[in-house]
């Protein structure tokens, strides 16, 4: 309905409506005119009849004085221009004529006379059925100017309404046009925004893949080069050095993927209660190696710094990321100060530990402060950085229940502050990384892993630790194997495998069918890890070292009552 109205509301239809209105106005005026003429005729006829009745006796008995008196009475009406009375034989008896009007001399002539714009009425004079004569009355219609004046009001209203309709239609039409233009522009802008967003996404993807590929290429270079060199030498010292180099490259790769997962908020945090002072002090060698010789690192960490409950390695990565950014802000060298402080809470806030990293670099422009934590935001060239460093810092702080603050003055330096909640617990003794613990007694372990390389590596580790192993490809096969004979101490399974039964389902089924069997899951995918943690199944996060594996296996075997005890 509204649509029809919209389509009809064109200037053309408005002009048509206005024209119709004018035609209707003219028709109404014409109709009024006709009605007025009829009314006037009736009025004049009535006047003539009254006159005829009045003059019957004077006309019959030739009392001309009285007759003339009667006729003259009509002179009071300015529209009556001629009046005449005729006797029974049709001869003129009396009358008067105004202006240029002429009087018919006989009654027969009077009956015919009818000038345009005038009304001539001829009425017989009768008395009791006997015709005594006739009366002639000539009346003018209203003058044209007078009639026009009468219709001027209507005409003005009609014209005003027509003009109004045309103007409204014109303004409506122009509004509609601009509305359509506006909508078209909105649609265009939405498209442009969508395209821009898409291109930004592509750019970010490019930066990420570029940065990650670059880093990975470097460490793969180190690893593959190291292996090549290992084949060509038998010098134990040189071999040890090469091994250390490969190990370092692999660690860096693991760190990189961990960072990526942290940014995508998919990294499982391994919170533990730590002494931040000890942890950060332990980083001094790493920091010096990472930052280079031109950067001096100073640490002001009070001995009574409160413990915090965070993922220790994440904390180290965060500190490292901040320090790396600080280094990049100081192209000509400078100093980095790492400070720690206890911030007692008040009623609203809990106690917190403040760890601030201050540099004397270029600073961050105020309009960029809000962007530095955005994933993939980087001021560095492709390959120089992933744009994920400070994003990891932000993710770590939020995931640890803390926050991160930036305080920067352009040209003077930047302070990035981590505020971490104090833990009420005391940290465990930070003992040195445990030596791989060999298996105690004989344990058979069923390894469920679809990837041959991983299966070989993990199987090799287990054999090296003194376990007997048997490998199957997937969960279904594992169940069949267990149904045949459940002669295992523990089932170590990957989480994501082809086949009907996933690692998680396998673990739950084993817990249900063979409660005495221990299970342990391994995965590199954090969402799966979260579900395992929820079910209380021990979990090994890939990549893991042989030490990690030995410790976790011990714990798991202890739990299922088949450990050393």
């Amino acid at each position: 309905m509204g649509n029809i109205v919209t389509q009809m509301a064109t200037p053309l239809s408005a002009v048509l409506i206005a024209l119709l209105l004018m035609v209707a106005g003219l028709a109404a005026a014409y109709q009024l005119e006709q009605l007025g003429r009829v009314e006037k005729l009736r009025q004049t006829t009535v006047q003539a009849q009254i006159l005829a009745s009045g003059i019957a006796a004077p006309l019959a008995f030739e009392d001309n004085a009285a007759l003339q008196e009667y006729l003259n009475a009509l002179k009071a009406d300015p529209q009556i221009v001629a009046v005449a009375a005729y006797d029974g034989r049709g001869a003129f008896a009396a009358g008067f004529a105004r202006r240029s009007a002429s009087l018919p001399r006989r009654a027969e002539e009077a009956r015919q006379a009818a000038a345009p714009g005038a009304l001539a009425v001829s009425v017989p004079v009768r008395e009791r059925g006997t015709q005594l004569g006739s009366v002639y009355l000539l009346s003018t219609m209203d003058s044209l100017s007078r009639r026009l004046t009468r219709y001027l009001g209507i005409a003005l209203i009609v014209i005003a309404a027509s003009v109004l309709i045309v103007m409204l239609a014109a303004s409506y039409s122009s509004l509609r046009r601009s509305h359509q233009a506006l909508r078209a522009e909105i649609a265009g802008r939405q498209q442009a925004e969508e395209a821009l967003r898409q291109s930004q996404k592509m750019e970010a993807m490019g930066q990420l893949t570029g940065g990650v590929a670059h880093d990975f290429n470097n460490l793969l270079m180190v690893a593959s080069g190291g292996l090549d060199l290992m084949e060509r030498t038998s010098d134990p010292v040189r071999l040890a050095k090469l091994k250390a180099g490969i190990r370092q490259a692999v660690d860096r790769g693991a760190k990189l993927t961990r960072q990526l997962l942290a940014f995508s908020r998919r990294s499982p945090l391994n919170p533990e209660v730590i002494d931040p002072r000890a942890r950060i002090r332990g980083m001094d060698a790493l920091l010096e190696r990472s930052l280079g010789e031109s950067i001096e690192v100073a640490m002001h960490l009070p001995a009574d710094l409160w413990p915090v409950e965070v993922d220790a390695s994440e904390l180290e990565v965060a500190i490292l990321n901040i320090a790396l950014n600080a280094r990049d802000a100081m192209q000509r060298g400078g100093g980095i100060v790492i400070e720690g402080a206890n911030i007692p809470g008040n009623g609203e806030r809990p106690d917190r530990v403040r760890i601030a990293v201050t540099d004397s670099g270029a600073g961050i422009a105020p309009d960029l402060v809000n962007k530095i934590f955005e994933p993939f935001y980087t001021t560095k060239e492709v390959g120089q950085g992933t744009g994920l460093g400070l994003s990891q810092v932000y993710g770590f702080a939020r995931a640890s229940g803390g926050e991160v603050l930036v305080d920067s003055i352009v040209g003077q330096g930047t302070t990035i502050t981590l505020l971490l909640p104090r833990s009420p617990l005391m940290p465990r003794d930070a003992d040195s990384p445990p030596e791989p613990m060999a298996a105690f007694g004989t344990h058979r372990i069923l390894l469920v892993e679809d990837d041959d390389t991983v299966a070989d590596t993990v199987g090799g580790m287990l054999t090296a630790l003194g376990y007997e192993t048997e490998r199957v490809d997937n969960g279904d096969e594992a169940l069949r194997r267990l149904e045949r004979k459940g002669d295992f101490s523990l089932i170590l399974s990957d989480m994501i495998m082809p086949g009907e039964v996933s690692g998680m389902e396998l673990a739950l089924k084993i817990r249900q069918l063979w409660p005495h069997l221990g299970t342990m899951l391994m995965t590199g995918y954090s969402a799966a890890a979260a579900s395992a943690a929820k079910e209380g199944v021990p979990l090994l996060a890939k990549p893991f070292t042989i030490q990690d594996l030995s410790v976790q296996l011990m714990a798991a075997l202890d739990q299922s009552g088949q450990g050393r005890g």
């Binding site: 019957a56 006796a57 008995f61 009392d63 004085a65 009791r128 006997t130």
Partner: protein, 188 residues
């Protein structure tokens, strides 16, 4: 009689009337016939024209007579003039006829009775109409007395006076228009 003169009028016809009356002044001295003829013509015309202004009671038309009758008794002053006036005329949807009864003073079925002069010593034309719805007319100067309408001359013009009381007594109703035109009305 020579002082009979139509009133001054405008228009050609009036001038003709004026010429005629002027002529009558001169002719009147030489012969009484011409002005008398004019006066009689006017009277004849009036005699008929009284009829539309008078209302007769229904019994006046109850007879088998199918005509409206104007009777003339005594000496007839009109002659063919009256016949010319009523020719083709109708009154109350009846043809108008003229009856003359010279020497017979009581013609029956009259609606209007005009009594002319008479040399007869026992001339009493209205006695026969006494008690009947008959409009009696006479010339005051040259006719018997006692008519309901009497012609008189005033300023040289033919006028009339009306005895409305007598007319009412005979069941006749005379229109106020006619009464208004009479120079005198005796209402009694």
């Amino acid at each position: 009689m020579h002082d009979l003169r139509p009133p001054p009028r405008k228009g050609r016809r009036r001038r003709r009337w004026a010429a005629l009356s002027f002529l009558s002044l001169f002719v009147g001295t030489a012969s009484a016939t011409a002005p008398a003829t004019l006066e009689r013509a006017v009277q004849a015309n009036f005699l008929f024209k009284f009829a539309p202004f008078v209302e007769w009671p229904p019994e006046a038309f109850a007879t088998s007579e199918r005509a409206f009758v104007i009777c003339v008794v005594g000496d007839d002053p009109f002659g063919a003039l009256l016949n010319d006036v009523v020719r083709g005329q109708k009154m109350a949807n009846r043809p108008v006829v003229v009856r003359r009864a010279v020497g017979d003073p009581a013609p029956p079925g009259c609606h209007i009775l005009f009594a002319g002069p008479s040399a007869d010593a026992g001339y009493a034309p209205f006695t026969a109409a006494e008690g009947k719805p008959v409009l009696t007319v006479a010339d005051k100067g040259a006719g018997p007395a006692g008519a309901m309408i009497e012609f008189v001359r005033q300023n040289g013009r033919v006028r009339f006076q009306i005895d409305d009381g007598a007319a009412r007594a005979h069941g006749l109703r005379i229109s106020s228009k006619l009464l208004g035109l009479a120079i005198a009305v005796d209402r009694k």
